[in-house]
């Protein structure tokens, strides 16, 4: 894209954002609209200025608002822990299954069934076992990320071209060395390629868990805000989650491209 075109695109994006914010700010002030639909009722949709003020209050803990940081920290640490553990377990499972057609044939139906099970329904069970705790949040994250990582890892381990394995054996590799030097790197690469997706899933599932079990993270903040009719706080919290989520995706995208630079274009 040429420089001129790129700045035109950027200008349009800025204009579009401004238009949406203005519409959000001023449409609910039109009585005719707000009396006809909740969508334009300030009580339900709040406004950009109120959200901005709430964000400020959350950051510094002013005007009776709680400080956001401990909440954000709990959610994000659980998400990152969940994603890391889930990816390591998923990669290990993918490595073992892709290395053995027999084990794979035995276990695969269970994996597919487990993946089709909505893990959200397991949250109450997890809470009974682990209590409303960081552990519970992490387990919820792991349960979701494991499958994302596993399917990637398995695909990586089974998609190795047959001539690459044959070549390795002819070069003198025994089964262990094929596993160690050929299959493991493929599995790790494919798993790592799913890093941005895994983290996103982890955040979503951890927040869902907090919504349901009341562990004091971002999810609990949203649950409280919603049940007490504070739409402004709900929007502010969601906005923070979106921004942090975006930052994590960008960072993990860069980490992935850096580690897997040899993958080429």
């Amino acid at each position: 894209m040429s420089v001129g075109r790129r700045s035109a695109v950027l200008a349009c994006q800025v204009l579009l954002t401004a238009a949406m914010l203005l519409a959000w700010q001023y449409l609910p002030k039109v009585g005719w609209l707000s009396s006809r639909s909740h969508l334009f009722d300030p009580y339900f949709v709040s406004s950009p200025t109120q959200v901005a003020k709430a964000l400020h209050d959350l950051a510094v803990g002013a005007n009776g608002s709680p400080k956001i940081w401990p909440f954000l920290w709990r959610t994000m640490s659980a998400s990152i822990l969940g994603a890391s553990i889930g990816m390591i377990l998923g990669a290990a499972a993918g490595l073992v299954l892709s290395n053995s057609p027999f084990v794979s044939a035995v276990v695969r139906p269970f994996v597919v069934a487990a993946n089709a099970t909505p893990r959200v329904t397991l949250i109450p069970v997890i809470v009974i076992i682990a209590g409303t705790s960081l552990t519970a949040s992490v387990i919820i994250g792991v349960l979701v990320v494991f499958f994302v990582a596993f399917f990637n890892a398995y695909e990586g381990g089974t998609s190795i071209a047959p001539q690459i394995i044959d070549n390795a054996k002819l070069l003198g590799a025994n089964n262990w060395r094929v596993l160690r030097y050929i299959r493991l790197p493929y599995v790790m690469a494919w798993t790592f390629a799913g890093l941005p997706l895994a983290i996103t899933f982890s955040v979503i599932s951890v927040v869902t868990g907090e919504l349901l079990d009341g562990y004091p993270g971002m999810g609990q903040l949203i649950a409280t805000a919603t049940s007490t009719g504070q739409s402004t706080l709900t929007f502010a919290t969601t906005f923070i989650l979106a921004v942090v989520g975006l930052a994590i995706v960008i960072l993990s995208d860069q980490a992935r491209d850096r580690v897997l630079h040899w993958w080429g274009k």
């Binding site: 044959d166 070549n167 070069l171």
Partner: protein
């Protein structure tokens, strides 16, 4: 010249020999039938033949990746002390590991076989090969940064770094344009001859066969067996570009064309019953 059995196989102290082998995919007709072929030390044998005549299968049997229905693959004991690595193969498709640099890909054998070699010896050998194959400056590059011709050179060096007794080449340069291919031929020939590696090269390119081979085997249409054998007169020192204008090159080239045409015609006639190109795993070059 008609079907000829290489009965002298083991008498000549061949490195390895196919002894009256027959091969077919499970439940299918024979792909190769009653084929005997020995490989003398340091010899380059090129195998040509119509598509589907079992050329690649012949290599996979030598490599031990496929077991013959009958007959045997016989290896002579290795006189060298310590014993050399028996065999490597350069595949038609890419086998470079994308996360490894040129250097690491070339020295893959040492890592995979757990061969203990003094670091300096190994580095020296790799450096020599890199120099010989014109890859200087590309040692630290990754496969995606290399051209198709360079990638093939790296794959070739990876196959010869262990200085194996036998090297199998399965149409290794078929994806390259002709000038690149001919440039590689010279390096391949020089390296293989200087290292005393015996080679079986399967190719569709008759010019490639004539310029590199000590001996050329023409296979019949499926089921493949030896239809004709030719010895080339070019010796151990060759200028591959020059050879291509040599009268002997041209006459042998023409002769091979004639023989191949006969076999391709016969393959076409029998293809009403089955398609020789569509054996199971034909694309992968053999059964697994």
């Amino acid at each position: 010249m008609t079907a000829e059995t290489d009965t002298t196989a083991l008498e000549r102290r061949d490195v390895v020999a196919l002894d009256d082998v027959t091969y077919g995919y499970p439940g299918g007709p024979n792909v190769i039938e009653g084929l005997s072929l020995g490989l003398a030390p340091g010899e380059i044998v090129c195998v040509v033949g119509p598509s589907g005549c079992g050329k690649t299968t012949l290599l996979t049997m030598l490599a031990g990746l496929a077991k013959p229905r009958s007959g045997a693959v016989r290896w002579s004991p290795d006189p060298a002390k310590p014993a050399r690595h028996p065999l490597t193969m350069m595949f038609q498709k890419d086998t470079l590991l994308p996360w490894m640099t040129t250097e690491d890909n070339i020295s893959l054998h040492f890592r995979l076989s757990g061969t203990q070699l003094r670091r300096a010896d190994k580095a020296g050998r790799i450096a020599d090969l890199v120099e010989l194959a014109g890859l200087k400056g590309a040692e630290k590059k990754y496969p995606y940064q290399l051209s198709g011709g360079m990638r093939r050179r790296v794959a070739f060096l990876a196959a010869v770094a262990s200085r194996p007794r036998v090297l199998l080449l399965d149409e290794p340069f078929s994806a390259l344009d002709e000038p690149t291919r001919i440039a590689i031929h010279q390096d391949i020939f020089d390296i293989v001859k200087s290292q005393g590696i015996s080679v079986v090269l399967v190719t569709h390119d008759i010019g490639e066969a004539v310029s590199l081979a000590d001996r050329i085997i023409v296979l019949t249409a499926r089921p493949g067996t030896i239809y004709a054998t030719h010895h080339t007169p070019f010796g151990e020192q060759r200028d591959i570009t020059r050879i291509r204008q040599h009268p002997d090159f041209l006459s042998l080239y023409a002769r091979l064309w004639e023989q191949l045409e006969v076999q391709v015609d016969s393959a076409r006639k029998s293809s009403s019953s089955f398609d020789p190109d569509l054996g199971p795993h034909a694309e992968d070059g053999g059964p697994r």
